[in-house]
Structure formats: C-alpha cells, structure tokens
C-alpha cells in the first residue's frame, strides 16, 4: 500500500510530507526531488523506481504530488487516489497552488490522516468529509451524540455520499449533457478516428433520500423495449429521433451497477449538489460539427502558402460559439500575412501558430482564411514536422445524438412527487482534440 505522500513546489521543496509506512524513510523525499523534479531529462514515465522504491507522481500547475511505496501496490488505485486527493483539496480551498497549500497545511494533514489509513484509501467523498473535517476544528464538542453517529454512519455507510435530513423548499434538478468530440482527420478529409466522450453532470437540490431513475435514448434499452412491443410507440414518440449506440459507460458510485448490468436501467440516490452521474463514449454516427479543409503549399524554400476552409455541419438555426482554429507555423517563420473572411486572425510567434478566432457561426456555413508565411533560410536538415491544425468550439447540441428521455424522482417518505420537481436539461458539445493533419 501507499507508504507515504509528499507534496512539492516547483523547486522541489517539500510542502507536505506524510509517511504511513515504516519502510519509507526521510531519504525518499530527497530521492524523488533529485531523480525526478530536478532530473535533467523530461519525465519519461509517471512511475519511477529509485532504489527499489516506487514513486507515482501527478502534477497540478507547478505542484508535484508524489505517492511512494516499496510494495507491489495497485498502481491504478494510487493514481486514482492522487486525483481524488486533488479534487478533495480543490473542494476545500480552491486552486492547488503553493500559496494555498501552505495556508492550509494543517487541514491537508488532517485530511491525509482521514482519507489514507496505513496507506489504504478510506472514504474520500467531500460531501461526507466536510461534515466532520472543518477548518474550525472545534465542532467535536458541540455535536450531539446523534450527530456524531450520523457522521460515522455516513462515512462508513452504504450511502456514504449523501446525508439524511436534507431539505429544500423548491425541489429542483439540473442535467447537463457535456460532450467533447474528438477527431483526427487526414489531409484528404478521411476520418482516421473520431469519438465522443460525454459526461452527464447533475446538480440536484432535492429533499430527503430521493430514488432517481435516469433514461436516455440508448439503443440497447430502446431495442429491448421495442421487442416488448407495448412501449414501442412510446419510445419513438418520446425520443423523436433514433437511438444511439453507446460503446461503453461508467457511473458514479451512487449508481447501482448490478441493476444496470442486468436491466440496463440507471437508478441511484444522488449526492446533494453537483456531481458527475455518468461518463460514456460513442464512436458511431457522430455529428462532426466542423470540417477543416487545409491546403499547404511550399513555395520555394522560404515561403509557405496556407489556405484553410472551415465548414459548419449542423442545423442552420443553431449557433456555434467560441470558435478557434490554430494553424501551426514552422519554427523559422519570420513573418506572416493573413486574410480571413470572418473573425480575427493573428500570428502568435511565441506559440508558433496562427490563431483564428470567430465568435459565432451558424450551421451550414463556411469560412476561409489564407496566409502567407515567410521563412528564414535554415540549414537544418530536419524537415518541419507539420503538426496538425487543431480546432476549438462549443455547440448547443450533443454531437453523439444522445437525448435524455426522462429523470424520474421518487421520495416515498416526503410529500413531493416526480411532477413537483423542476427539471432542467442542457446539451453542450465542445471540441476535445479536434485535429486535421495538413
């Protein structure tokens, strides 16, 4: 199991050092600094073995988090824990920075004591942690016995993510379907790989211990229902569109996985406030919101001509926003002239790229940019690697075609029904890694 956990600043100075196991000595702190943080070479692996001691590290801005062990630990667990640790810290004091860590080091030690016991991760849900790890520290005495046992049963309980007795005057929930479209396209316009990775984020403000059921236009569910014959029409009329094939999905720990496996129904008692209900991935029938058509021509040894056309490919009534096209330029660029039909384009020497920004663009439109790049003559033998043209955007629909069919809320003990809950659904599609080779 995890033998120790260290946090360093970018210079390699220790900010937090907590050792859980006797086999990890103080020298481990320095071994990591010397061999990884101060290493001359770029880091070639997130796992480093130094003198039979293994170091796992992740970086958040310029802060290094390192977990140390001498045993054959579950490596995936260690990384998941480190990410979780970052989430917990962020939930307590915001951005993970040297300043914040120094200002909260007592809190961090307290958290580390709670969520890692002898190197074994324990309950690390911020909702639960915040009930008894507070920065006031005096809460202990003022709690009644019931409160105390409520805390402990929540921390250890089956529903560790939600406490009892939550009350809202207005029961309300927000569902965000957030998708990122990833694309790799060849210069000839052939899709090399494309997938959507989506998340359903829920903000729930519901009283009591509500039982929820979530439904979407998942092909397997709808086909199943279709076979039944009875709900066929219902399914069609509610979705309006055809169903989508989900390659794989993962769920928040509140979702009953065995039920999903057997019935493919998504039922759960939600945590209070914002959390990620599920993640999914699709690869079939993706709506690619934009198509990028590049044309790069080398004119002699000192000049490049670049022409890029982007085409929007969705309903004309919808508007895409925050569009940005990034066209890489060679390192020996000396000057650039750009002409674009729409938006603004600028050559950014420090980033070695032409950045073309368009605020808004409706569906089924196209726009074009052309640039002349002057190059300094070099005797560098190596050819320019031609990094791909990348694109960023945001569209108000789900490129996977996913639709929320329902989210039903049942709370038998309190007197509100599914109809009383105000529900909001929003779809946002963003670019993930959206690249076209040129």
């Amino acid at each position: 199991m995890i033998g120790g956990l260290f946090i360093y600043n970018h210079k390699g100075e220790v900010l937090i050092s907590r050792v859980y196991r006797d086999d990890i000595g103080r020298h481990a702190v320095d071994a990591f600094r010397v061999n990884v943080i101060h290493a001359r070479q770029q880091v070639r692996s997130p796992v480093t073995n130094i003198a039979r001691t293994s170091f796992f590290h992740v970086k958040r801005s310029n802060i290094w988090l390192a977990a140390v062990t001498k045993q054959n630990v579950n490596a995936a667990m260690v990384f998941e824990f480190l990410y979780k640790m970052c989430d917990v810290m962020a939930a307590y004091f915001g951005k993970i920075s040297e300043e914040n860590i120094k200002n909260n080091f007592v809190l961090i030690y307290e958290l580390l004591d709670e969520i890692l016991d002898f190197g074994y991760p324990q309950n690390s849900e911020t909702g639960a942690l915040k009930t008894f790890i507070t920065q006031q520290g005096i809460k202990g005495q003022h709690q009644t016995k019931e409160e105390q046992s409520q805390i402990t049963s929540q921390v250890t309980g089956q529903i560790g993510w939600r406490r009892e007795g939550i009350k809202y005057r207005r029961n309300e929930l927000f569902l965000d379907v957030l998708e990122s479209v990833n694309l790799l396209m060849s210069p000839q316009g052939q899709v090399l790989s494309a997938h959507v990775s989506g998340r359903v984020v829920m903000k729930s403000y519901l009283s009591g211990m509500p039982e929820c059921k979530f439904g979407m236009n998942d092909k397997i569910v709808i086909d199943k229902a279709g076979k039944g014959g009875v709900t066929d029409d219902v399914a069609k009329s509610t979705t309006g569109k055809q169903s989508i094939a989900i390659d794989d999905c993962t769920f928040n720990q509140c979702v009953r996985l065995s039920k999903f496996d057997s019935e493919r129904s998504i039922s759960f008692i939600p945590p209070d406030g914002e959390y990620e209900l599920m993640r999914y991935r699709t690869t079939k029938d993706i709506i690619l919101p934009f198509r990028v058509i590049p044309l790069v021509r080398e004119v002699g040894r000192t000049k490049l001509e670049v022409k890029v056309v982007i085409k929007s490919n969705f309903k004309p009534s919808l508007l895409a926003q925050k569009i940005e096209v990034r066209i890489p330029t060679p390192l020996n660029t000396s000057g650039v002239q750009v002409i674009c039909m729409k938006g603004k384009a600028k050559y950014k020497a420090s980033e070695n790229a032409i950045v073309w920004k368009i605020k808004r663009m409706a569906g089924m439109k196209e726009s074009q940019i052309s640039a002349e790049i002057e190059l300094l003559p070099t005797n560098d033998k190596k050819k320019w690697a031609r990094p791909p043209i990348s694109m960023n955007f945001e569209v108000p629909f789900a490129p996977s075609g996913l639709k929320v069919r329902y989210l039903k809320v049942f709370e038998s003990k309190l007197n509100y029904s599914d109809h009383d809950v105000i529900k909001w659904v929003r779809y946002i599609g963003r670019s993930g890694i959206y690249e076209t080779r040129c």
Binding site: H27, N74, F79, E80, L82, N123, R281, A385
Partner: protein, 969 residues
C-alpha cells in the same frame, strides 16, 4: 544519510521566506521561543505554536527537542489541536521512546471517549507509534475497538491490526486478533468488511503458507455482496482479494464472473482494472465453447478502451496492462486498433506504449491504416518515439507479408530524409526484412550503401555490415566496403567486430580469390590483438574451420538461416501468466514479477493462472495453481557468476587434468594441451588448402603460435592472486588489515586487474595494491588519483611502478596516503573513488576503506574529559549495535582493539557484565566514544553489545563495522 538531508533542507528552509506565516521562522533561539509558546496558558497561542512545530517538521527540521512540551498539549478537548499533537507523536515517538510513554494514558483514555471520531482517532494513531511499550498498551483498547458499536471505529480498528502486525506479528497472533479480524469479514457494514479484507490480505502476504484468508464459497459470497455496497476503494480491496481465490470448478468461476462484470462500468479505473484481473483469471477455467465465454470476451473490450480517456498517468497504467492482455488474449481488442492511434499532445510515455500495442494488433485487415499512421509518426520530434515508429514499420513488414513491399518503400522514403537516426533505425529493420524475405528486396541495397558513412551507432553499423556480408556476391565493391570498416577495428564495439568478422568470412567463402588478404587481416585482428574472449573464440573457430574443411565451413557459415519470428518482445509465457494475475499493480506496470522489485517476504510467492477444471472432474483441487503453471523453478533467478568466479572456474579447468577417464572424444583437444595440437596441426591441415593457395596456408599457420601464451595469462595472474590473498590473511601482528579484494576486475580494465586493501603502519595510512597485467601487451606509465572523499584521503606520493608491467606479471605496490586532500561527503561514508591510468587507458573503480585506518595514535582520552564529553553529546547521537557470536573476554577484546588505536580508558564490572569505555580519534579530529559490554557471567552468551556516541552520528555505523571486523579477526 538522514543528517545530510536535514542539513540541506534546513538550508533551503532558511532561504525560503514566503508569506505563509507558519513556514517563516526566526532563525536563532527559535526552539526556545516555541517552547515558551507551547507552555503558554492561552489556547490559541498553544495551537499556533503546535502548527509552527508541524511546519518545521514538514520541511525536515529537527524539532524533537520539544517532545515533552508538545505532548503536554495532548490533553485537550480541541480536536484539531489533538490531531496535530498526534501527528507530531507519530513522527518522533520512535526517537524518544521513553517520553512517548507519557502519551499512553491519553490514548487509553481517548479510546473510551463517547465520541466515536475520537475513539477512532486514538486507535488509529496508537497503531502508528512504533514503540514496544506503547504497543503493549494498545492491545486492550484495540480489542474493544474491534467490537465497538460504531462502524467507523471498527473499520479503523481493522486497519490497526495490520499496523500492529507490522510492528509485532507474534503479538497479534498471541492476542487472537487475527480471529477477530476474520469475524469482521461478516460484519454488517461494507466498509468494515473492506478494511478487514485489506488487512487480512496484507497479513496473509507475509505468511504465504498460512490459511489466513481461508476463502471458501461462503466467504466469497459475503465478499461479493459487500462489493455492491462499499466505497470505490473498498471495491478495489475486495476485488484484489477475490483474484487470489481459486474457484472449485467452471460453474463457480462463471457465477463469480457474472457478479464481477457490473464493476466494469465503474467510474474508478482501478475498480475496472481489478475487475478485469478477476475476469481474466477466472476466464481460464471456462470452457471455450461456452456461450458465456464469448460474451465475456466481448464485454471486456469497451471498458479497456474507456480507460484510454482517463488522465494520462492512468492511461499509462492502463496501456501497460493492455499490452499484457493483448499478448494473452489478442482476440479481445483486435478490432480496436484506432483507439491506440497516437494523439499529437499525448505525453511521450503514452505515445510509446500506444505504439507498442499498435504493432501487436497489426494485422492484414488494418495494416494500411497502421502504416499510414506510422509514417506520420516517423516525422515527429521526439527521437525515441521516431525510432520506435521506424522500427514498427519494419515489424509490420515482417508480421504481414502483404504489406512488406509497402513497408520497404516507406522505409526507403524515410532514408531519403537523411535524418541521421531515422536512417540508422531504418537500416536495422531492413536487415530483419531481408532475413524474413530473402532474395526479394535486394534492389534497395544500393540506396543503403549510400548511407554507409553516416552510420555511427553500433547496431546500425552491425546491421549494414551483415547486409554487405550476406549479399557480398551482388555488391561489386563489398571487399572495399568491409575493408573500410576494418581500419578502426579496435575502436568498434563488440557487436560490430563480431559482425565484421563473420561478414568478411562470408565474403571470403563467396569470393575466395580476391579476399585472402582481408580475411587474414581480420582473423589476426580478432585472435591476436583483441582481448575479448567472444571475439577471439569466434576468430579461432572460423580459422580452424577454414583451415580444416572449407566445404564444411561453407555449409556452416553460409547455412540457411532459421526463420525469424513474427512477434518481438513477447513476454515469456510463465511470466505473462504471473503478470496477468497482477493486473493493475506495479508488477504489471514494470512488466516484472513483484519479487524483482519488492524487498523481503512480500510478493515472493508467484501467482499462477488457474487451470481449467470441469465441474464434474474434481471438487477439491488445492494444487490447481501448481498444475497450471508448470514447475516453480523456471522463474528462479539464474545466478550469473561474477567475473572473478568465472576466471576462477576457467583456471580450474586449465590446471587440473580432466577428471573424466576413458577415451577422450576427438573434440576434447580444445581443452588445454590441444592448443599446441591446433598450432601444429593447422599447418599440416592446410596442406590441402583452400583454392590451392599456399601463401594463405602459411599465413594461417604462422599466427597461432602466440596462442598458448595468451591462454596461460590468466593462469599466472590467478596464482599470484591466490598467493596475495594468503599473505593478507596471515598477518597476525599489529592492527587489523582486511584481506585484499579485487577492486577492478581485468575484464573492465582491458586486462589490468587491481586488488588491494588498506593498512595503517606506524601512523601512516597505506593503500596496498596488487597490479596484475592480464593483457597481452606491456603496461607502463601508471598513475593514480582519488576523487574527493569524506575524510580527505589523497595519495601522498606518486604510484611507484618503476619497471613496465609485462604480460602475466604481478607487482605489489604500497601507496602512502595523506588525509589533507579535498573533502566531500560520500555515500557510504567510507567510499573512495579511484582512477588509475596506464598507457592504455584510464580506469575507474571505487572501494571502501575500513574507517579504522583513520584512527590516530593519540586517541586516548583523559578519564575526566571522557566523562564530560559523554554527557555533553546528546542522547540521540547514541547508537547501539550487537556483535553476535564473539568469544572474547574483555581483556582480549581490549588488546585487539588497542592494536587498531581504539583505546580502553576504563573498565567496570557490574552484575556479571564487563563494561569497557573506549575512545577513538579520527584523523580529522572527530572523537568517537564507545561503551562495550561483555557478558562474563554467562559463557553461553557470546554476544557483545556496543554503544557508540559521537557528535557526528553518521560515523557510528562505520565505527561499529570496524570494531566488529577487528574483534572477529
């Protein structure tokens, strides 16, 4: 060394003046101020002070002096303050065991607190304090907490049993905690179950043969139920534990799989990977024709692909595991090639792993896409990645025959880029393609030859030479090409030398008339001028072959080569099976069994995949594991004797006549006297020489005359060594001098072997060296230099090797040393890095000197001074050691030590124990005080105890080692 770390951190600390108040500090009298604040009446001030103490502790400052003051703050109802004090205790209790006892009462009291959070906190902290006395007090509270009404306390207590076991395993067994822990597996609370499982698994790992976890269908059922209810981490503990279970038959195996598959949809990648591990393992037991088997295979792919959208570090772990899974069951991911395409922004470690998997998944169906990708990668920036991509193109050509032609043309395109490392890598893989498809792509040889000059890496040079040799008959100027390599023969790496030798022999066999001179030249270079045994042997073999039977030589050297395998870098099957059992863990990341990187008993046990057993066959199969994996000896590490041993073996072989009697087989002439036979025999054999060239025959015959000498070389040197060793050990008088050891083996120093030791004679430190020339040529111009070291050792004069050292000769040199050289702390402290130069090269080695060489003659302290000094040195600088099995009375010990300048100042006898008080002075003025306890009352008790006290505690260990060596010899 800990002190150095603290030193260096303190320095950093001083320079770090940021605005976070606890991390700033007043430099002088800080401890004093903190002490006052800790004892303040005001609660807030106290708490602030404790926070400052913790901040100092974090940056590595020694605040142990505040121990009593901090412990005084423990009695508080402020939970935050209490936690801080506990944190301090966990860090320093071990160094202050006596004072830590002060805390016990509070712990015991807290374990009875009405607040479960405080009870748990107390039991959790107590388990982290590794002080025997505290551990004793822990037992009762722990027993209570294991049965506490509150699950939070029980789950904490469960982990505490594992902590206690780590400190004192026997105690845990004696107190019956293991049984209580086992009961907790049936606890109503899932988190308690999970922690109990984790604790038991860990304890079981250190007792490989115990039946601690005692998994049976009932307990498995309980675990599977808890699996649905506990936290993500608990699910991981349970799944990892389940993976160790051996189901009785395929039906049980299937039912477990069915209940584990839902975990594949968990958001936590570790849960998913652990579930994959259970499934991969239990799948082995399912019959392949079962419908469920196919379903399961299909279910495995999507979650594995999803892992690739996790954060990069997790992707890396996932990819390393997928690499194993693809080797074990390629069918799972065969359609998922695209997801392994490299993204431009992937970190390099992810890129390299993806590339590896792409090659494994490449097939006729997807080869076009893969090739297009690889070509793209070959123009990237990262050198390692580009090389791997180029290599991958070659692998594709070998794996998918239909693509070979396209691969070759892609490689040629890449060679045209003239990027140096791309060209070299391409040539290496083209060699393999030639092997796989002989006589198909020779048209490209001309292009390859154009790049001959730009090759500077051994592997690429060797590959090119192989190609020239293999196709010598089609390359007009093959002899010229090879000859050009021959000029710098001795500067080439072994790989190139061997390849060049073979290539020229091939060339000779193909075009004997024009290349006689060349082949003689290379043979004499390989056999006479090289001290590399591999090269020499291969040279002799060719020589003998060519001279005895040229037809046979042709058959051997130009034989048809076996096909090369399509897959490369495949993990050996037994190791692969073991690694599959470790999916998700570090072992699967390193692709090494745990025993390769874990110390001690943990992980030594090898895991195996279960064998397939039908439900009807056997209900009890305890030894399933052993049947499946084959014998355990396969994975036993092979012991490669060190070079010294090898030399010794060779020596034995040469010196002793073969013990086997009976008619010697014809080839046994190779052994020893056979060398002469060969020498003389060659001439006669060459009578019927190849191609009727008499001149060549003479050439062959003349050279081997030197050979017997070269074989004798190690013999003489070895004898000399033996003799020296004897001399070293046999010195009975005066200070203890350790026997000479080999510091620099001849293999590493082009034939120069150096062994040596250190001695102190009449107040002068001597480095005594034995230099042996095991090479063929004379060595001259010796010189020696030391790197900076802990005690400033430096040669006091030049190395006195007056006459040149001829082959086979051994000389003894004694080099006086001074202690006024530059100082730098070494690790270990008594390490000395030495450079020795001769006319051939400069060689580096390091050795360790016994610290007793530095003990000066005037190291006897006045009694009064001794007493005062002893008191003056803080207690934490005292270290205690034991010397086992030393049959000496105190006087004998005292005399022995005195000879090495360890002076006895006083002797006291208390309760059958002789106490000797001793002082030592090091050459740099450091005083070391020691107390040696000898049991006189009990003759069976032969252990000596020694306490060492010194202002620089880091020397204690060295001093102790010295004392032990002196006393035992």
């Amino acid at each position: 060394m800990e002190w150095a770390n603290q030193l260096c951190e303190n320095r950093q600390f001083g320079s770090k003046m940021t605005d976070s108040k606890y991390f700033t500090t007043t430099k002088k009298g800080e401890i004093f101020e903190l002490k006052a604040e800790l004892n303040s009446d005001k609660k807030e001030k106290k708490k602030e002070a404790v926070k400052k103490v913790i901040a100092s502790m974090t940056v590595g400052k020694d605040v142990s002096a505040l121990f009593p003051d901090v412990v005084n703050c423990m009695q508080t109802d402020n939970l935050e303050l209490k936690k801080l004090v506990y944190l301090y205790l966990m860090n320093y209790a071990k160094s202050q065991p006596d004072m830590a006892i002060m805390a016990v009462n509070t712990f015991v009291k807290d374990c009875e607190d009405p607040n479960p959070l405080i009870r748990a906190l107390a039991v959790r902290t107590m388990g982290c304090i590794r002080v025997d006395k505290i551990t004793e007090y822990l037992c009762e509270p722990l027993r209570k907490c294991l049965k506490d009404e509150d699950p939070y306390v029980r789950k904490t207590a469960a982990v505490c049993v594992a902590k206690l076991h780590d400190i004192n395993a026997q105690l845990v067994e004696d107190q019956g905690f293991l049984d209580t822990l086992k009961d907790l597996i049936s606890d109503s609370n899932p988190m308690v179950v999970a922690n109990a499982v984790a604790a038991l698994s860990e304890i079981a790992e250190s007792h490989p043969n115990s039946n601690l976890l005692d998994l049976n269908p009932q307990s498995i059922n309980k675990l599977l139920t808890a699996l649905n209810e506990c936290t993500e981490w608990g699910q991981i503990f349970i799944l990892d534990c389940l993976a160790n279970y051996a189901p009785r038959d395929d039906r049980e195996s299937q039912s477990i799989c069915e209940r584990v598959t839902p975990r594949l949809s968990h958001a936590n990648s570790a849960v998913v990977l652990s579930a994959v591990k259970v499934l991969m393992k239990f799948m082995e037991m399912l019959p392949k024709d079962l419908d469920y088997y196919g379903t399961l295979l299909k279910k495995l792919a999507p979650p594995l692909v999803t892992l690739l959208s996790a954060e990069p570090e997790l992707q890396y772990v996932a990819l390393r595991n997928i690499n194993l899974i693809v080797q074990k069951r390629p069918e799972i991911l065969k359609h998922e090639m695209k997801v392994f395409f490299v993204k431009y922004n992937d970190p390099i470690y992810v890129k390299l792993e993806k590339l590896d998997i792409m090659i494994r998944l490449a097939s006729q169906a997807n080869i076009a896409q893969v090739l297009a990708e690889l070509k793209e990668y070959a123009t990237e920036v990262d050198v390692d990645f580009v090389r791997k991509a180029v290599r991958a193109i070659g692998r594709c050509a070998i794996k998918v025959e239909q693509s070979a032609e396209r691969c070759v043309s892609t490689l040629l395109d890449l060679i045209q880029t003239k990027v140096n490392y791309v060209v070299q890598e391409a040539i290496v893989v083209i060699k393999d393609i030639f092997r796989k498809y002989p006589n198909k792509y020779e048209s490209v040889i001309a292009t390859l030859c154009e790049n001959l000059d730009s090759l500077d890496e051994p592997e690429a040079r060797a590959a090119m030479i192989w190609i020239v040799g293999e196709y010598a008959e089609r390359i007009d100027n093959a002899d010229e090409l090879l000859e050009s390599f021959l000029e710098g023969f001795h500067d080439e790496s072994t790989q190139v030398q061997l390849q060049l030798l073979t290539a020229i022999v091939k060339l000779f066999l193909k075009k004997p008339t024009e290349t006689q001179e060349l082949v003689q030249q290379v043979l004499s270079l390989a056999t006479q001028d090289s001290d590399n045994p591999d090269l020499r042997d291969r040279g002799y073999i060719y020589w003998r072959l060519l001279s005895t039977d040229p037809v046979a030589a042709k058959e051997v050297v130009l034989a048809e080569k076996p096909l090369i395998s399509e897959e490369t870098d495949l993990i050996e099957p037994t190791l692969l099976e073991e690694l599959i059992c470790h999916i998700g863990t570090l072992a699967s990341v390193y692709h090494k069994p745990p025993s390769a990187f874990v110390e001690g008993s943990r992980g030594v046990m090898h895991k195996r995949l279960p064998a397939r057993t039908g439900s009807g066959e056997s209900t009890e199969s305890p030894d399933v594991g052993t049947i499946a994996g084959g014998s355990g000896t396969e994975t036993a590490p092979s012991i490669i004797p060190s070079q010294g041993d090898l030399l010794g073996d060779l020596l034995n072989l040469d010196l002793a006549p073969p013990t086997t009697t009976g008619p010697p087989p014809p080839t046994s002439g190779m052994q020893m006297g056979g060398m002469d036979l060969l020498g003389g025999g060659l001439d006669s054999l060459l009578g019927g020489d190849i191609g009727g060239s008499a001149a060549m025959g003479a050439g062959f015959g003349a050279v081997p005359a030197v050979m017997p000498a070269s074989l004798n070389a190690p013999m003489g040197g070895g004898l000399g060594d033996l003799f020296d060793l004897g001399g070293g050990v046999g010195m009975p008088l005066g200070a203890y001098i350790p026997p000479k050891t080999v510091w620099l083996p001849a293999m590493k120093a082009k034939g120069l072997e150096i062994s040596g030791t250190f001695a102190r004679r009449a107040g002068v430190i001597q480095m005594e060296l034995t230099l042996t020339n095991k090479a063929m040529s004379v060595m001259t111009d010796f010189a020696i230099q030391f790197n900076r070291n802990s005690f400033g050792l430096a040669p006091a004069g030049p190395l006195q090797v007056l006459s040149p050292l001829s082959p086979n000769q051994t000389i003894e040199v004694s080099l006086p040393l001074s202690t006024v050289g530059p100082v730098m702390k070494m690790e270990p402290l008594n390490n000395l890095q030495v450079a020795v130069k001769n006319n051939i090269d400069v060689f580096y080695f390091s050795c360790q000197y016994p610290i007793s060489m530095l003990f000066v003659e005037d190291g006897k302290m006045e009694r009064q001074v001794f007493l005062a000094t002893w008191k003056d040195i803080p207690n934490e600088n005292e270290s205690q050691f034991q010397i086992k099995d030393c049959h000496l009375n105190s006087d004998a010990a005292s005399n022995k030590l005195q000879a090495s300048n360890i002076f006895t100042i006083a002797k006291r006898t208390v309760e059958g124990q002789d106490m000797l008080y001793m002082s030592i002075k090091l050459s740099n003025g450091i005083w070391v005080l020691a107390e040696l306890r000898v049991q006189t009352g009990n003759p069976n008790y032969t252990d000596l105890e020694i306490s060492v006290k010194c202002r620089a505690p880091e020397v204690s260990q060295c001093v102790f080692q010295c004392c032990e060596a002196v006393l035992k010899n």
